[in-house]
């Protein structure tokens, strides 16, 4: 059966000792998710992970905006591998789908066109005096969470079920184009039936929603968002997805890629402001989670420690549904509980239950 074709796309995922590369977008918009990933791996699962301060952006957003040449990004990536070699690690883990696509593409290009690898080595040597060996394994951070999904399930404090009815929560999973569309073999489940998030959802008690535009792009489109004049492209494609998923009444969206999570969240805000349309229950938007946030909730982490207050679409309707206890008054506090004001309200959060979530100053 074609639906089970994901089983043909399996890859080796290292069990321990990860060299961790951060994501420009994830650390900007979901810094709590990056922290949660490290905490889950090291604290909950007892794994070894190195967060090396010397690594940089892979420059992938620049590359896919066509201002960073292929030769340059190859050399930047080679430097990351060199840094990993320097500290004795060989399992490279990246927290970004754009980066993951970049690393898979570059490793494949070096394989297919060996002269590009030779040239990269020359550039790196000339620029930095460095040498490098390629990683033994390459994974996206979600691959690692998928790998340990049953260990996480065994430690679960909560499940992805409606606490009132016991029914599984209905989840839209969004994979992110560069996870497996560039090199289907590099992603769990390939590009047709990617299983990386679906596997987590199923292990933790939820059920995935199938809908027509499930594999459509979130609409980032690099220059199509980054240049203000082009943003119609970006919102139009998110709109297409949201319109397609809404009739299936998902309880939340979980995204593989930090950019996708941000766009599906922020464009819901924009659509609500522009047209008054919201896609969730009771006039609210659909909460959009990262998989680290989803895993964190399952493991009993506090939603504000996970950084879910940084979302534009309120997550409280989901937290209530799951029976998560949280302190509404703590949502928008700064460091050490300092009150720093709170964001203005927005149409995307103005459902009938809005007052329940209003923080008393």
């Amino acid at each position: 059966m074609k639906r089970n074709s994901w089983q043909d796309y399996q890859k080796q995922i290292a069990d321990d000792h990860y060299y961790y590369a951060r994501s420009c977008i994830r650390q900007n918009f979901f810094p709590g998710s990056e922290r949660a990933f490290i905490d889950i791996l090291t604290r909950d699962l007892g794994k070894d992970l190195l967060d090396d301060p010397k690594h940089s952006s892979c420059t992938g957003i620049g590359y896919h905006s066509d201002i960073v040449p292929l030769e340059t990004i190859m050399t930047v990536v080679a430097r990351q591998f060199s840094l990993m070699n320097e500290v004795g690690y060989e399992n490279f883990v990246t927290s970004c789908i754009t980066s993951f696509g970049i690393y898979t593409e570059i490793l494949a290009t070096w394989q297919e066109f060996p002269e590009t690898e030779e040239r990269t080595r020359e550039y790196l040597r000339k620029a930095t005096g460095r040498e490098f060996t390629k990683p033994a394994s390459l994974a996206h951070t979600s691959d690692i969470v998928f790998h340990f999904r049953d260990d996480i399930a065994a430690r679960a404090k909560r499940r992805l079920v409606n606490a009132a009815t016991g029914e599984p929560l209905r989840v839209v999973e969004h994979i992110g184009c560069h996870y497996a569309k560039i090199f289907p073999k590099s992603g769990i489940g390939g590009s047709e039936f990617p299983y990386v998030l679906a596997g987590m959802v199923e292990s933790w008690g939820g059920e995935c929603v199938d809908y027509p535009e499930r594999r459509h792009c979130c609409g980032f489109g690099f220059r199509n968002y980054l240049v203000q004049a082009n943003r119609g492209y970006s919102i139009a494609n998110s709109h297409k997805k949201l319109e397609s998923m809404a009739p299936y009444k998902p309880d939340f969206i979980v995204a593989n890629c930090p950019g996708c999570a941000m766009f599906l969240d922020k464009w819901q805000y924009t659509i609500a402001e522009m047209e008054g349309t919201t896609y969730g229950e009771n006039g609210h938007g659909i909460p959009v989670l990262t998989y680290e946030e989803m895993a964190g909730l399952v493991l009993g982490y506090d939603p504000w420690e996970l950084g879910m207050q940084m979302h534009q679409v309120d997550v409280e309707p989901l937290l209530d549904k799951m029976g998560v206890e949280y302190d509404p008054a703590a949502k928008y506090l700064g460091r050490n509980g300092k009150f720093i004001g709170k964001p203005d309200t927005a149409a995307v959060n103005c459902g009938q239950s809005e007052l329940l979530y209003d923080i008393k100053e």
């Binding site: 301060p53 184009c177 489109g221």
Partner: protein
């Protein structure tokens, strides 16, 4: 006449991305850019495949090649193993090398990308940092981002011990030695040359278009914000 096709063939992405297209149009069927723009990747691949130098030059100087979002949705779908997205990347790179990108409104936007993302990479080691996402240029980011932006030190301190400082953690300041390595990589591997090429041709075109100061901030904001291309 320049042999544009031969120049494209020097790019490994072009060699990987174009074998023999049978014009089935599956790429266009799944393309998010075709969803929104009057854009048809099938047609672009078809034009390039003919090796018609004049037609390729029109592509290199036109808006069309700049519509693609590089999502690569076309890649796994093509029954002949082509990747129109790679062909686009090769066309864009060549358009910039030859200075043709400034001949179209969408192409001229490369200056904005160079001055935002590009310069940020060299300055910070990241493509994006919070202060680059200025709310007045990003109204779609909404009031929560405005709150984060206004209170960045307080908010990010909840999640990282090193916001704007050296050390391990999110949004750390990358050390000078590492940044020097990144800059030398750009100098050595063609990144800096690409940035200079974008600036040089943009300045020439800006003056041609009547911007007396060349590619100044006013020109930059115009290419960033103005949109006269009908979707």
């Amino acid at each position: 006449m320049a042999k544009y096709f031969d120049m494209l063939m020097e790019d490994v992405r072009f060699r990987e991305g174009l074998h023999a297209c049978m014009n089935c149009g599956v790429c266009t069927g799944v393309c998010p850019a075709a969803e929104f723009y009057n854009y048809d990747p099938r047609q672009i691949v078809s034009i390039v495949q003919t090796r018609d130098e004049e037609a390729i030059e029109r592509l290199l100087k036109g808006d069309t090649i700049w519509f693609c979002g590089e999502c690569m949705s076309c890649r796994p779908r093509c029954p002949r193993g082509n990747t129109p997205g790679y062909v686009i990347q090769a066309l864009r790179t060549l358009s910039q090398k030859l200075g043709f990108f400034v001949e179209s409104e969408k192409g001229r936007q490369q200056l904005a990308l160079k001055r935002t993302i590009g310069e940020n990479i060299l300055r910070t080691g990241y493509c994006i940092v919070p202060k680059l996402v200025r709310p007045e240029l990003h109204p779609e980011q909404g009031p929560v981002w405005q709150w984060i932006y206004d209170h960045d030190r307080e908010v990010f301190a909840c999640f990282t011990p090193v916001y704007g400082r050296e050390g391990a953690g999110a949004l750390r300041r990358i050390d000078d030695e590492s940044l020097d390595e990144i800059r030398r990589i750009f100098d050595t591997s063609g990144g800096t040359e690409m940035f200079e090429t974008i600036e040089r041709h943009s300045d020439r075109k800006a003056r041609e278009m009547g911007y007396e100061q060349g590619a100044d901030d006013r020109y930059m904001m115009d290419v960033f914000q103005k949109n006269s291309v009908e979707p």
